[in-house]
Amino acid sequence: MSLTSADDSIRLAPASQFTIEQLTALYNKTRVDYMVPMPMNVARLADYIHLYDIDLDHSFVAMQNEEMLGVAMLGVRHQRAWITRLGVAPATRRHGAGQMLVKSLIAAADSLHLPLIMLEVIKNNAPAHQLFLKLGFRETGELLVLRRPPRTSPPDPMVADAQRLDRTDSLVLVGHDRGMQPWTNQSESLTNAQEVSGIRLTLADGSRGWLVYQRQKFLLTRFAFKTERGDPVTVARALLSHLHSQYPRLDTQIENIQLGDPHLPAFYDMGYMESFRRVEMWRNASVG
């Protein structure tokens, strides 16, 4: 697939035609002026592509002559797609490359007969937000990126019947219906991740729930959690108290927690703080 802009100066090429090194350099170039640039190295981008089921044959690079101007990637899962890593190099913005990229991803999702396209945009990134609205996306919620520094006074683990879960048992829980989560927190994201484990506990009053997470070298991340019975704040507080007692020296970063999530007060109680927010947007195939 090779698309061109109205003036033929910008064309799109499938991202699979480029090396991961080239895509990494391009991605970093597009984010260099962001307040939160979140650069990646080659290993991190390769991991991202694997974790989030990025289909490079249906992702695109915007080119002008031989220069790589921008990139946008498409995650593909059962009945849904995800737009991510969209960026255009600062000096070449406002010439239609971003719109071309997004339109091409929408067309690619349509060609794969995927009825839902999801994405997140950093809150206050007005140009991108406006572009997505223009192309038929609607806001579905606000998402939080939260952090908890290491060495935050670890809470005493709340008294509970707690059980550590291995990867297999953790993924069984994550596979249960948790509603429609943001892409990064969906079951597939954890299934694709290494070093996944979990905690399941029952409190004295019968409240119970579970927390599944990924433990990286210096970081706890990718949480999935559910209260099966009882007050979500109490259950989450108990789960987090056990988790952070177990790993007091690890940093924690979790992303795309829905603003209305009933567990949220427990995170703040346990020393989490907000890094920034994203807006979640969806587009149904019937729109536009």
Binding site: V36, N41, P149, P150, L219
Partner: protein, 137 residues
């Protein structure tokens, strides 16, 4: 005391700049070298931690957006390393001031300098962090 620390010249203050953008890193090196500092560079978190352990700089300037692990996570590692506990860590970030202050304090940094750096003031800002008990940003 570590050999690397013993061997290097103590006449100059050693600044470790951990910054993934080569242009930014070179600018910091140029400005600080002109003011008599010795500067070493690292371009990601893993190499930044290794360099800090090997070289024991007098101060660490830490970009919060790094390509392997981010700067906050690295600040946590640095503060968790007993031999590095007393080295000032200064975050260099484009975060809004309130967010930057909250993040750097909670991750054990001594303060922050806003990006883009002000070339005219940069060396003085670094010098301020080298004075005892100065945590100002």
């Amino acid at each position: 005391m570590r050999l690397a620390k013993v061997n290097r010249m103590k006449a100059k203050i050693l600044v470790l700049v951990i910054e993934d953008m080569p242009d930014n890193a070179e600018l910091a090196r140029k400005v600080l070298t002109a003011r008599g500092y010795e500067v070493i560079l690292a371009y990601d978190a893993e190499s930044g931690l290794k360099t800090a352990k090997d070289q024991h700089p007098d101060i660490i300037l830490l970009d919060l957006g790094l390509p392997d692990y981010d700067g906050q996570t690295l600040a946590g590692w640095l503060r968790d390393e007993p031999s590095l506990t007393n080295i000032p860590i200064v975050a260099v970030t484009a975060w809004p001031p309130e967010t930057a202050r909250q993040m750097v304090e909670s991750y054990g940094c001594n303060g922050y300098i806003s990006k883009p750096i002000n070339v005219a003031n940069f060396a003085d800002q670094i010098a301020a962090f080298l004075k005892p008990s100065n945590n100002a940003s």
